[in-house]
């Protein structure tokens, strides 16, 4: 499911939240009617057109005056163009703005590098007081939206392409990673749609005799540091998997922790230092740029045997 459809499906949760909270409003940027929300609450949906900076500033003002604004905007544009407004007007001024950001990672596929969001985690992770969520599948996206509404402070919810994970329905606790598989040789630590990729790699690794744990880091800020430390000590090998640059994202965050505790080995699966300029549909881009299950399997095996 595309992150955009996951976002629309999360809008169903917004309807439910808006029924209970008259202060909840929805802001978008040239998106047209949104799912079940706009028909139900037309007077509480505002589209400001194609202007991400103004969008976040307006959201901050609404929050300042007591509203609960949810913003729906494309990840690459809102995270980069809107960065200073997220930093100054939302976080620094302590305004309760929730940003739902579809088209994270490479989901936009052949639309090209301008539309790929491969640096939003790195950017937003530096903002004090911001919560950064990256759910693994459509069901968890809904739970993340619900969790965001109960946080007092700005939240960015990163939504890329994601496949439903069979039987995955655990409570969403901000800052608590979820272990989906236990394993004794290596921990596959993933975020967003890459959790499903890690599960696929878990199966092929098992067939090859490698026991791989799978951990879903659905909160990137504050990251579940204890989960990283546990994996660093046992099994002592971590492969991070993210649809994001290997610089500054999940791999970067885990590397910082390993360096500080002085134990554990790490391989980072993610976008190397490159723009993804090959023209190809989304699944092919994952293969070309080393983000598919085969790439995870290779990285894990290399870490285990070396």
């Amino acid at each position: 499911m595309s992150g955009y459809f996951a976002a629309l499906s999360a809008a169903d949760i917004l309807v439910e939240l808006a029924e209970k909270n008259p202060n909840l409003v929805l802001l978008t940027q040239d998106f047209g009617p949104i799912g079940a929300f706009t028909p139900r609450f037309p007077e509480r949906h505002f589209d400001v057109g194609i202007s991400e900076q103004n969008l976040i500033g307006v959201a901050a003002g609404l929050a300042h005056a007591g509203k609960l604004p949810f913003v729906l905007a494309m990840a690459p544009f809102v995270s980069m163009r809107g960065f200073e407004q997220i930093r100054d007007d939302c976080a620094y001024n302590r305004n309760n703005v929730k940003i739902i950001a579809p088209f994270a990672g490479l989901e936009a596929g052949p639309w090209g590098a301008t539309h790929h969001a491969q640096e939003d985690i790195a950017l937003l992770r530096t903002i004090p007081g911001l919560t950064l969520l990256s759910p693994a599948d459509p069901g968890e996206s809904k739970r993340a939206v619900r969790a965001a509404a109960s946080i007092d402070g700005p939240v960015y919810i990163r939504l890329g392409f994601m496949s439903p994970i069979d039987g995955y329905d655990v409570p969403f606790t901000v800052g608590e990673a979820v272990t989906l598989r236990d394993g004794s040789d290596v921990t596959l630590m993933a975020t967003g749609g890459c959790v499903a990729t890690a599960l696929a790699a878990h199966a092929t690794l098992a067939a090859a005799g490698v026991s791989a744990a799978v951990v879903n880091q659905h909160t990137l800020k504050p990251i579940d540091r204890a989960a990283v430390e546990r994996a660093a000590r046992s099994p002592g090998r971590i492969v991070t998997i993210e649809e994001h640059s290997i610089h500054g994202g999940l791999g970067g965050a885990v590397a910082e922790i390993l360096a500080e505790i002085g134990t554990g080995r790490l391989a980072r699966v993610g976008i190397r230092d490159t723009f993804c300029t090959e023209v190809a549909p989304y699944p092919d881009l994952l293969r070309i740029y080393g983000l598919d299950a085969a790439a995870v399997e290779k990285a894990a095996k290399h870490l285990v045997i070396s």
Binding site: Q53, N54, G57, G61, G66, K67, P69, E84, D88
Partner: protein, 269 residues
Amino acid sequence: MNDPATIRSLERRAATVRRHIISVAAAQYSHLGGAMSCADLLTALFFHALQLDGHGPRDHFLLSKGHAVTALHACLAERGLIDAAELPASGQLGSRLGGHPTHRAPGVEFATGSLGHALSVGIGIALAEQLSRTRARTAVLLGDGELQEGTVWEAALCAPRFGLENLVAIVDYNRFQAGGAVDEVLPLDPLADKWRAFRWNVIEIDGHDMAAIVDALARVPAAKGPTAIIAHTIKGKGVSGVEGTARAHYTMLTDEEARRALVALEAIQ
């Protein structure tokens, strides 16, 4: 028409606000020029036009040109929220008064500094008040150089779209910015026409004519849409020899300059 006694009282208050600003500029380098140019505007807002405490809907004020912070702090001192004696030590260790508005200073509604932010924030606030069906107004003070930021024009395009009669943007058009004259760095004229083309109610005034300022602010909320007040001002207004010069933007006054300015302002009492 305005009561002449009210206008005279506001003019005296503005002179006191300017004396507070000079107390900072005599002690250290500061953004003197842009604080002095908007002193009459802020005085009218804080001591006449806006309802900032008491009962009923509370109005909002955002200083988008955050570097004019000494004018804001001076008004907060006059409102009794901070002590005027704190002003000269602004920015020093232990002070709660920074070089831009922050939440450490009581009475600051929104922390600003990076230019081009607060008009969008003001739209959000005005929209929230409109949704809540209050009569609260939102005033945003912008610098002229600040209008070179593209975000201002995103916001200018947006506000009429939501019919925000309760929003007023005030431009302190003092014609100087850090790099020199606005007309030489990046000209803005015809400025009033630009705001009219963006579908704002535009009022052009002499930003040092207290009666004109009070009249213009009394026209908010307007019958239709947001209001832009283009206030023609003088950079560093009130400091002879410094006003109307590029130096006024960021400077420290000599003892003699400060003394002469204070004497002239005291004569307004």
